[in-house]
Amino acid sequence: MKTKTESKCKYLRTKMSYVPDVDNSEFWRSTDSTTHAYWCLLTMQPAGPDDSLAAPPECQPGRKCYDSKE
């Protein structure tokens, strides 16, 4: 699996979501870190509303609960 796996789902969260960076505030979305705990804002759990795992490779367009930031 590639570590660079971008997810733009607006509900995906991890610790680094809370480190603002003026140039690239969404840099954490582009990496599937091996030490990050990911969760979904809608459930506040590692499983999303569709009961599947929430993480950058999994939270991709086409998933039922996916909601793009744009």
Binding site: T14, K15, P20, D23, T35, H36, A37, M44, P46, L53
Partner: protein
């Protein structure tokens, strides 16, 4: 517009010149030539009196008129489907105001014992608890798996039904690496180590539990007191969840009883408390109890790390290959490869990491995620390699980190303080039952800082100074450090500065995660203070008929440089502030051009005694030598190092989440059977804080919270080996494991 400054930068007294370009609205960065009055010294906490007298109010203490108390109902089963919920008996109870479910609809999937199903709000904690007991849940119990080793088997019950296996796809770095290339390098090495190391699950044990008090001021305005490492993180998540403008949500953390990563970001308790408050129209308090802390708020994942490291006959590492797996329960984040990739100088590093899903509470960020685990394995393997080469383990490290000046200095200082040169060169050579040993291990962490943080300073006509920013103090003392920076810049005392923090109505502040708080906020504080000082100097210059560049701020005065008998007081100058007061701000911007620091280096040495009859390991002394850039307050840094070392000892010897494999339930969800280090287990801790000036920001500060806990367990493990001559490759190093390791050398099974 910008200005260029020539700075003195480097490690300790070994300084060199460096020219940096700085924006016009920022001061010259502090460098190695600056000898400051407060910065780099020891400052007692400005809020120490409030804390020790009990006047400091934590979220746990917050009680509002008409407030309701909330409690969760949690699943007793590790895998199940909730088919129905009957809360009618509970809802009839006097004092019960609301029962709400986590899931919008049933059936609901349960994946770990302790998972939240619903929450009750009542007019007292006792009533809420009783109401939870009266709720009937119909479960359809499912097969489960709680150990990573079992979960990897093809026939193991699936934690997520949609997945083919409980193993997420292995992540390999470099992504295009061929494992066989590294195998060839390893097999061609003069010596190699090929071993497996195991670490346990560690749960969060902050003194104040997770929780929140939430109140809706009207239908569109939410206010909350939260025990959080990120006031703005909670604000943003609450706003996003409820579809509110961020400006309509206010989060306050006046005082906070500790957090190690799990309080960073949202928690289901935030959402449920706010939902209950919305439904009842009353304030709702939802503070977790100690059992809930162990079960549900996150933990440090366990690990099984297979490490292979080779070296040539001169002690130069030829290749490092790490294959690891571990479980963060139902979540992600069990990787451990950071240390393997970032401490030693070799291009030949191959890592493959796999998350294994189990029916256990989710992992969370925990003080240097992945690193105490990774260093426990790496630094023992490095030690083993050195012993195989018959080389001093410290010398082996020197050879393989030769390009890092910080580590060279740290090794020298630490070795001197622990008495490394006096150690017995043989392992397990002490006579008698109590055997003593020395060990060493490296730490690594990363320089992280966010941007856009804004501090405001108000200077009033009576000379008083108010500093505001929304950053929370999670116990590290950031408010004190901020006061020191302002005092240094304005020539006042830290106690002269009124500091208001922990409120999202102030300027954006950093979340306290990644050891970024001090590095993130102090440059903004200093820039604001510098701007305030310039305003007051201008007033003084007019009053004194002097040029502003001839004046300086010191000891509550504005002095003429080289003519110090000519001065006016700070208060006198401030009395001429037009309009009674002024406000200035400073913003955290990108580091000065061309400066990029990537790692934070540290080393710890351990002195232990091992009783070979009882297996008890006693840590006698830890010497901790750490880099945190330019030190701000040496007292709070020392506090952080002490805390990191104690937590590391606790991880090394005691802490261990135990899940019953037959029921999937945690059997030690308390602080009696889940052991953490107590005062009797704390050794002498000697900390040495390096001065590393790099001029990357106006203060040059870098974090210390996480690096201080990374190497402790590994240093103790290496000291245990030196003491008894036997490796203990699994945490925690309990007496049982020590005795088992000793038995193996005797050929006893």
């Amino acid at each position: 517009m910008s200005k260029k400054y020539k700075l003195k930068v480097g490690v300790q007294e070994n300084l060199r010149d460096l020219t940096v370009e700085v924006n016009d609205n920022q001061p010259r960065p502090w460098d190695g030539s600056d000898h400051l009055k407060y910065i780099g010294k020891e400052q007692t906490r400005i809020d120490g009196r409030e804390k020790v007298t009990g006047r400091a109010k934590y979220t746990f203490d917050r009680q509002l008129p008409g407030m309701l108390w909330a409690r969760f109902l949690r699943s007793p089963y590790p895998a199940a489907v909730v088919k129905s919920i009957d809360s009618s008996e509970a809802e009839k109870m006097p004092g019960v105001y609301a029962v709400i479910t986590v899931a919008e609809k049933l059936p609901m999937t349960i994946r770990f014992a302790g998972q939240e199903i619903l929450a009750v709000a009542a007019d007292s904690d006792c009533v809420a608890e009783e109401a939870v007991r009266r709720i009937q849940i119909e479960y359809d119990k499912k097969p489960f798996v709680v150990s990573a080793d079992e979960a990897r088997k093809a026939d193991a019950p699936r934690v997520y039904s949609g997945m083919n296996s409980n193993m997420r796809e292995t992540r390999i770095r470099p992504e295009d690496a061929r494992e066989s290339d590294y195998d060839r390098l390893l097999s061609g090495s003069h010596v190699r180590v090929d071993q497996t190391y195991r670490t346990q699950v560690q749960t969060h044990s902050a003194m104040e539990t997770h929780g929140i008090v939430a109140v809706w001021e009207d239908a569109r305005h939410l206010k909350a007191w939260a025990s959080t490492q990120g006031t703005f993180a909670v604000r943003n998540d609450l706003a996003d969840y409820f579809g509110l403008p961020k400006s309509n949500v206010r989060v306050i953390t006046e005082y906070m009883g500790g957090g190690f990563g799990a309080k960073l970001g949202g928690g289901i308790y935030y959402i449920m408390a706010a939902r209950l408050a919305k439904k009842t129209g009353k304030p709702v308090r939802l503070m977790l109890n100690r059992k809930e802390e162990h079960l549900s708020v996150g933990n440090r994942p366990d690990s099984v790390q297979h490490l292979q490291i080779g070296a040539d006959r001169n002690g130069k590492i030829t290749a490092i290959k790490l294959k690891s797996y571990g479980t963060a329960g139902i979540g992600t984040g069990a990787g451990t490869s950071g240390p393997a990739r970032n401490i030693y100088q070799t291009d030949n590093i191959y890592v493959a990491e796999t998350d294994v899903l189990t029916n256990a509470g989710p992992g969370a960020a925990f003080r240097a995620p992945g690193h105490p685990q990774g260093v426990f394995a790496l630094e023992q393997a490095i030690d083993e390699l050195a012993w195989k080469l018959k080389m001093d383990p410290l010398e082996f490290r020197r050879i393989n980190t030769a390009g890092d000046e910080r580590r060279r200095v740290e090794y020298r200082i630490g070795a001197g303080k622990i008495g490394w040169h006096k150690r017995n060169p043989k392992a397990g050579a002490d006579k008698g039952v109590i055997k003593r040993g020395l060990g060493v291990a490296n730490s690594v962490w990363y320089y992280i800082y966010g941007r856009g943080f804004v501090c405001s300073i108000q200077v009033h006509s009576d000379g008083s100074v108010l500093l505001t920013n929304g950053v929370q103090d999670i116990g590290g003392g950031i408010g004190t450090v901020m006061a020191m920076v302002v005092a240094e810049e304005l020539g006042l005392k830290p106690t002269d500065i009124e500091v208001k923090i922990g409120d999202t109505q102030y300027g954006l502040g950093p979340a306290s995660g990644g050891s970024q708080t001090t590095a993130g906020i102090t440059p903004a504080v200093r820039d604001a203070a510098w701007a305030a000082g310039q305003r007051v100097l201008k007033i003084a210059a007019d009053m004194m008929n002097e040029k502003i560049q001839n004046l300086e701020l010191a000891d509550g005065r504005i002095l003429v440089k080289n003519k110090k008998e000519k001065f006016i007081t700070w208060k006198k100058a401030c009395s001429k502030i037009p309009g009674d007061q002024f406000t200035v701000s400073g913003e955290r911007v990108k580091d000065n051009h061309g400066l990029q620091r990537r790692t934070i280096a540290g080393v710890q040495f351990a002195d232990v005694s091992v009783d070979i009859e009882t297996g008890v390991v006693t840590v006698n002394k830890i010497v901790a030598v750490h880099d945190c850039g330019r030190p701000m307050d040496r007292l709070t840094i020392r506090n952080q190092i002490n805390g990191g070392v104690i937590q590391g000892i606790s991880y090394a010897l005691f802490e261990n989440r135990i899940l019953d494999r037959n029921t999937g339930v945690m059997v030690n969800a308390n602080l009696e059977q889940y052991k953490i280090a107590g005062s009797v287990d704390v050794p002498q801790i000697e900390s040495v804080i390096l001065d590393v000036n790099e001029g990357q920001s106006s203060t040059g500060a870098i974090g210390i919270g996480e690096p201080a806990t990374v190497p402790t367990a590994a240093a103790i493990a290496n000291a245990v080996y030196h003491a008894i001559g036997v490796r203990v490759r699994e945490l925690p190093m309990t007496p049982q494991r020590i005795l088992a390791a000793l038995d193996q050398t005797k050929g006893v099974k």
